[in-house]
C-alpha cells in the first residue's frame, strides 16, 4: 500500500497556477461590455451632507451614471450584523450615506463609467456640500459626558454594556492585587489583494452573479439576497482566487449589494476594485480594546481571581460581527490557567471611525496579550520567575476536559510539555545566566514568554451566529477520478492540498486524481466558509465523514459484484476485497459499476457520491508556548531580536510544511502589532495612517528567523484529531515581545510599555524611570 499522505510535507497543488501568474483574482476577470465603479467617500469623520451635485460628473464623457443614497436607500437594504449582544444599540447602516456621513471613508456616491480612469476622474467632479460636525474619536474620551456623539439619536456613545460578577470577597483573600491598564491598538488587516466585486445581471435567465473577494461566499449570498430583496437561488456568488483575508473578508459589505443593484439597473456587468486607500478607510479594522485588569494573587503566585474591564472601540457601525469581538475575548480570558473567579465587564463604544471586526485571532489575541502580560506582571510584583507563575496555574493534563469559568470546555492539552520544550529550545536557564552577566556589563537583554490557548474550529452551531458546521460532497466520477466540493472557502490556507491528502489516504487514490472545488455557490452545496481556524478541523472532517458514507455504499456494491455477503468484504486500502478469496474491486471499479448501474443491489440508487454536513460538538483548543530574546539599546530605545522559538500544538498535523507557513505568517502579524502597526485617528476622527506609507507592515528585514517545533495532542472532538493553526502564531506571539522588552528593562523598574514598541516609546519609558 502507498505511503499515507497525511502528515507529509506535500507540495501544494494550488501553487503551479499561482507562481506562473495564471490564476484569477476578481480584478483578473474581464467581461464584455463591463463598466467600472468608483466611490466618492466622506473625507470627514462626521458631517452633514447638505447637497450632492452630480451634473458635471454626468456630463463627463464616458460616465454612465451617478448613484446616491437617496436612490439606493430602499433598493439595497442595510448592512447586516449577525452578532447577538443584549440591549445592543443598532444604527441603521444604509449602503450609501444619506444626510450624514459617520466615518472617514463612508461611501456617499457611486460613479459608473466605461473605464476605471474615467470613473475616478468623475468622482472628483461631484460636488458634495459637507458640513463637518464634531466627531467621537478616542473611545475612552467618547464615554465622557459632553463628548461629541457618533450617533446623536442615541444620546450616548455606549452601544452596549455588560456588567461583571461581584467577586470582591475573593479579592479580600488575596495577598496582593496586581493592576494594569493595557492597550490593544487598532490594526488594519491589509490583505495584499484589496476587496473587489463584479456584478453581472443576466435579464434573460433572471440570474445575478457576484464575483467577490470574500471568505464566506454562501453566507454572503444569503445576506446580499436579503439586502436586495432578491431570490437567493437566483443569486450566484463566485469567489475566485482570494488574495488574503485575515478576517477582513469575513464580512458582508455595502459594495456587494450596491454593485448587484447597479448591474441590474444598467443591465451590464460592473466591476469595482478597492483602492488601497479605500481598504484602509472602508474595510474593517481589528482590535481596538483598552483593558483595565486586576488580578488577585497569593504570594506563591496562585491566582484567585481576575477583574477585567474592556472598553471596545466599535467604530461607527456594526459590521457582521463587530460587537462580538470583546465577547470572544471573554471566552478565552483565562488563557492557559486555572482562574476560579472572573468578573468581566465590557463597554462597547461607538466612535466616528471604521468598524472594528474580526482580524486574525478576533478577540483571542486581545485576551492572550492581556493574560500573558499579567503573568509577567504578577511575577514581577511577587519577585517570582515568570515560568514558575505560569506552571503553578496550569491545569494538569489529567484535568482535561477542563471547564473554565468563561463557560467553555478545553478539549485536551499538556501545557507544561509545550512550555518545557520551548524553554529547552531557547535555553532559558542559560539565558538567565547570560542576562545576569550582561547586566553587569551594562547590556540589557531580556526574554519574553507566552503560553497561549486559543479557541479554534469555530464551532458548534449553538455558539455561532450563523451555523458552525461545514459541508463536503465527495464524488467518485465514472473514471475513478475524485471530485470534492467543500463549503469552506480557502484563500491561501492550502485546503485544495490538505483535503486531497485526507481523501487520498481514505480512498487510496493518487493525489493528482483528486480535485477540490470551492467558492462557487452554484456548484458547491451550502457551506459556512474559512475563518476562525476552522477549515481543516470542521471542513476537513466533513470531507472525511462524506468519504465514510461513500465507502459504506461502495462496500455494498463491491459485495454484490463479487457475489459475497457484505460482511465478507473488507477495505484493503484502495478498494474492497472478499476476505480470503483473492477477489477485489478497486474504488475506481466500484465507481464505474455504480454509474453503469447494471449490477447494483436491489433498490440502490445509482452513482457514487456522498454529502456530509459536519456539526462539531465542541470547539478545539490548540495551545503552545512562544519565546523571544531581545537586546535593547537603552541609548536609543531600539531593540534587536536575538532568537524566536515557537512550540505549537495544533493537534494532528496534516501537512507540516503548511502548518509552519501558518505559524510563520501568524507570528509576522503578531510581531507587526507588537512592534510597528497602529491605525491612528486624530481627535477629529481623521485616519492618519491611511496608506502603506504611514502604516508599517513588517517587511523581510523586520522578521527574525523563527525556530518552529511542535507537540502533538490530538483533539477528541473530531475523528481527524486536528485542532487548527491559522491564528496560533498571531495569538501566541504578540505578548512575547512586550514581555521580553520589559524583562530587559527590569533594572529600571519599568512595569509596562504599550504596543507598538516604538524605540521612542521605549526610550521615554527609560527616561521616566531614570527620573523616578
Amino acid at each position: 500500500m502507498a505511503q499515507k499522505l497525511v502528515g507529509q510535507r506535500v507540495k501544494r497543488v494550488e501553487d503551479p497556477r499561482l507562481i506562473t501568474g495564471t490564476s484569477h483574482y476578481v480584478d483578473d476577470i474581464h467581461l464584455p461590455g463591463m463598466l467600472y465603479a468608483a466611490f466618492l467617500r466622506s473625507p470627514y469623520a462626521h458631517a452633514r451632507i447638505k447637497s450632492i451635485k452630480a451634473d458635471l460628473a454626468l456630463q463627463h464623457p464616458g460616465v454612465v451614471a451617478v448613484i446616491t443614497g437617496k436612490e439606493t436607500k430602499d433598493k439595497c437594504g442595510t448592512v447586516p450584523c449577525a452578532a447577538a449582544v443584549p440591549d445592543l444599540k443598532r444604527p441603521t447602516h444604509y449602503c450609501l450615506a444619506l444626510d450624514r456621513a459617520y466615518f472617514v471613508g463612508h461611501p456617499v456616491a457611486i460613479v459608473i463609467a466605461n473605464d476605471r480612469y474615467t470613473a475616478r476622474d468623475a468622482v472628483d467632479l461631484i460636488d458634495v456640500d459637507f458640513e463637518p460636525l464634531p466627531a467621537a474619536s478616542d473611545p475612552e474620551a467618547a464615554l465622557k459626558s459632553g463628548a461629541p456623539l457618533a450617533h446623536p439619536e442615541f444620546r450616548t456613545n455606549l452601544a452596549f454594556k455588560t456588567e461583571g460578577a461581584d467577586i470582591s470577597e475573593i479579592f479580600k483573600k488575596a495577598d496582593k492585587i496586581v493592576k494594569q491598564k493595557l492597550l490593544n491598538q487598532r490594526l488594519v488587516p491589509c490583505a495584499m489583494e484589496p476587496r473587489g466585486v463584479i456584478a453581472h445581471w443576466l435579464p434573460g435567465e433572471q440570474q445575478l452573479t457576484l464575483w467577490s473577494s470574500t471568505q464566506i461566499p454562501h453566507l454572503m449570498r444569503t445576506q446580499v439576497a436579503l439586502m436586495l430583496g432578491f431570490p437567493e437561488n437566483r443569486l450566484r456568488v463566485i469567489t475566485p482566487e482570494v488574495g488574503g483575508g485575515f478576517g477582513s473578508k469575513l464580512n458582508v459589505y455595502a459594495e456587494e449589494s450596491l454593485l448587484g443593484y447597479v448591474s441590474m439597473k444598467l443591465k451590464k456587468p460592473v466591476k469595482w476594485i478597492e483602492t488601497r486607500r479605500e481598504n484602509f478607510t472602508g474595510t474593517i479594522h481589528g482590535r481596538g480594546q483598552v483593558a483595565e485588569i486586576e488580578m488577585a494573587v497569593k504570594n506563591d503566585g496562585t491566582i484567585l481571581g481576575m477583574k477585567y474591564h474592556i472598553v471596545s472601540d466599535l467604530g461607527a457601525y456594526h459590521q457582521l460581527l463587530t460587537p462580538a469581538m470583546p465577547i470572544l475575548t471573554g471566552l478565552v480570558l483565562t488563557g492557559s490557567y486555572k482562574i476560579p473567579s472572573v468578573s468581566l465587564s465590557v463597554s462597547g463604544v461607538f466612535t466616528n471611525r471604521m468598524s472594528t471586526d474580526a482580524y486574525r485571532g478576533a478577540g483571542r489575541p486581545e485576551a492572550t496579550y492581556m493574560i500573558e502580560r499579567m503573568m509577567d506582571r504578577i511575577a514581577q510584583e511577587l519577585k517570582l520567575d515568570p515560568v514558575e507563575v505560569r506552571k503553578k496555574n496550569f491545569p494538569k493534563p489529567e484535568e482535561f476536559p477542563f471547564a473554565t469559568p468563561m463557560g467553555v470546555v478545553y478539549d485536551s492539552g499538556n501545557y507544561t510539555l509545550a512550555l518545557d520544550k520551548c524553554l529547552e529550545l531557547i535555553g532559558y536557564q542559560k539565558f538567565r545566566q547570560e542576562q545576569a552577566e550582561a547586566r553587569k556589563q551594562g547590556r540589557h537583554i531580556g526574554i519574553g514568554l507566552s503560553c497561549y490557548v486559543e479557541i479554534c474550529a469555530l464551532g458548534p452551531s449553538p455558539a455561532m451566529p450563523a451555523g458552525g458546521w461545514e459541508s463536503a460532497t465527495v464524488r467518485l466520477e465514472p473514471t475513478g477520478k475524485v471530485t470534492i466540493l467543500t463549503g469552506a472557502s480557502p484563500h491561501g490556507q492550502g485546503q485544495e492540498t490538505s483535503f486531497a491528502q485526507i481523501a487520498a489516504d481514505e480512498l487510496g487514490v493518487k493525489l493528482e486524481d483528486i480535485i477540490v472545488v470551492h467558492g462557487d455557490t452554484s456548484i458547491v452545496q451550502y457551506g459556512i466558509g474559512t475563518f476562525g481556524s476552522r477549515a481543516t478541523a470542521v471542513g476537513g472532517t466533513a470531507v472525511y465523514e462524506a468519504i465514510n458514507k461513500l465507502k459504506a455504499k461502495g462496500k455494498k456494491i463491491a459485495a454484490h459484484n463479487l457475489g459475497v455477503e457484505e460482511n465478507a468484504v473488507e477495505w484493503d486500502g484502495s478498494g474492497f476485497a472478499a476476505k480470503g478469496q483473492g477477489k477485489r474491486l478497486s474504488i475506481g471499479e466500484i465507481a464505474l459499476a455504480a454509474h453503469l448501474a447494471k449490477m447494483l443491489p436491489q433498490d440502490m440508487e445509482p452513482g457514487l457520491s456522498a454529502t456530509h454536513f459536519y456539526e462539531p460538538k465542541n470547539f478545539t483548543f490548540p495551545f503552545g508556548a512562544h519565546a523571544v530574546t531581545v537586546d535593547v539599546d537603552i541609548e536609543t530605545g531600539a531593540f534587536k531580536i536575538l532568537r524566536y522559538v515557537a512550540v505549537d500544538d495544533c493537534g494532528k498535523v496534516i501537512n507540516p510544511m503548511m502548518v509552519d507557513g501558518q505559524v510563520h505568517g501568524g507570528i509576522a502579524q503578531g510581531l507587526g502589532q507588537a512592534l510597528y502597526e497602529e491605525a491612528v485617528y486624530d481627535e477629529n476622527g481623521q485616519l492618519l495612517t491611511g496608506e502603506f506609507m504611514d502604516y508599517a507592515l513588517p517587511r523581510t528585514t523586520h522578521m527574525p528567523w523563527i525556530e518552529c517545533d511542535r507537540t502533538e495532542t490530538p483533539t477528541p472532538v473530531n475523528p481527524l484529531g486536528v485542532k487548527g493553526v491559522g491564528e496560533a502564531g498571531t495569538i501566541g506571539s504578540t505578548p512575547v515581545f512586550v514581555n521580553a522588552v520589559v524583562d530587559a528593562l527590569a533594572p529600571f523598574g519599568i512595569k509596562h510599555i504599550d504596543m507598538p514598541l516604538k524605540p521612542e516609546k521605549i526610550w521615554r519609558a527609560i527616561q521616566a524611570a531614570k527620573r523616578a
Partner: protein, 162 residues
C-alpha cells in the same frame, strides 16, 4: 489621445496605442491581458506589480506605459521557458514560499533580479533584496528558503555546464 509605443513583452514585439497617463501595470493587465502582475497599492510600496523592464525589476504602478516605449518587459507569465519553471518559481513551490499568492509574482520577479545581481546571496542579502515587496501571509521565512533553493540549484547547474 492615443500615443504609439513599441514594446517587447515576454519576447513578443508589438506596437500599441495608449493614453499617455495609462500606468504600465494597467496597460499590461487591461490591454495585454497579462493579469499575473498584480496591484496592491498603486503607490510603489507593496511591490505586487514588480516586472522586469530591460532586465531591471521595477514597480509597474510607478511608470506610465509611454515611458516604457522601446523596452523589453518580462512579466511573471514570461518567466517559465518551454513549460519549465524558472528556478525561483520552483523554489517557491518546493519551499511553500506562498499562501494566497497575491504578492507572489512580484516577489518572484524581485527574487530573479536579486539572483542576477548576486548568484550566491546570504539570508541577509536575500532579505535585503526583497525588502521592497510586502507579503502578509508567509512571514517571509519560506520565501527566503525559496530563493536560497533557487540560488543553489542555479549554481549547481552552472557548475555542471562549466
Amino acid at each position: 489621445m492615443g500615443h504609439k509605443i513599441q514594446l517587447t513583452i515576454n519576447g513578443n514585439s508589438a506596437e500599441y496605442e495608449v493614453e499617455p497617463r495609462m500606468l504600465l501595470v494597467h496597460f499590461l493587465r487591461d490591454h495585454v491581458s497579462l493579469t499575473g502582475t498584480h496591484i496592491g497599492c498603486e503607490t510603489g510600496i507593496c511591490g505586487a506589480c514588480t516586472v522586469l523592464l530591460n532586465g531591471e525589476a521595477i514597480k509597474s504602478c510607478m511608470i506610465f506605459a509611454v515611458q516604457a516605449d522601446g523596452a523589453e518587459i518580462i512579466t511573471i507569465e514570461g518567466l517559465a521557458k518551454d513549460e519549465k519553471l524558472h528556478a525561483v518559481q520552483e523554489g517557491f513551490w518546493e519551499h511553500h514560499g506562498l499562501q494566497c499568492g497575491y504578492c507572489t509574482p512580484g516577489m518572484i520577479i524581485s527574487g530573479v533580479q536579486l539572483l542576477k545581481r548576486n548568484s550566491d546571496p546570504s539570508d541577509e542579502e536575500i532579505r535585503h533584496g526583497l525588502v521592497g515587496n510586502l507579503c502578509r501571509c508567509t512571514g517571509y521565512q519560506h520565501i527566503v528558503e525559496a530563493v536560497r533553493y533557487a540560488a543553489k540549484k542555479t549554481n549547481e547547474a552552472a557548475t555542471k555546464e562549466g
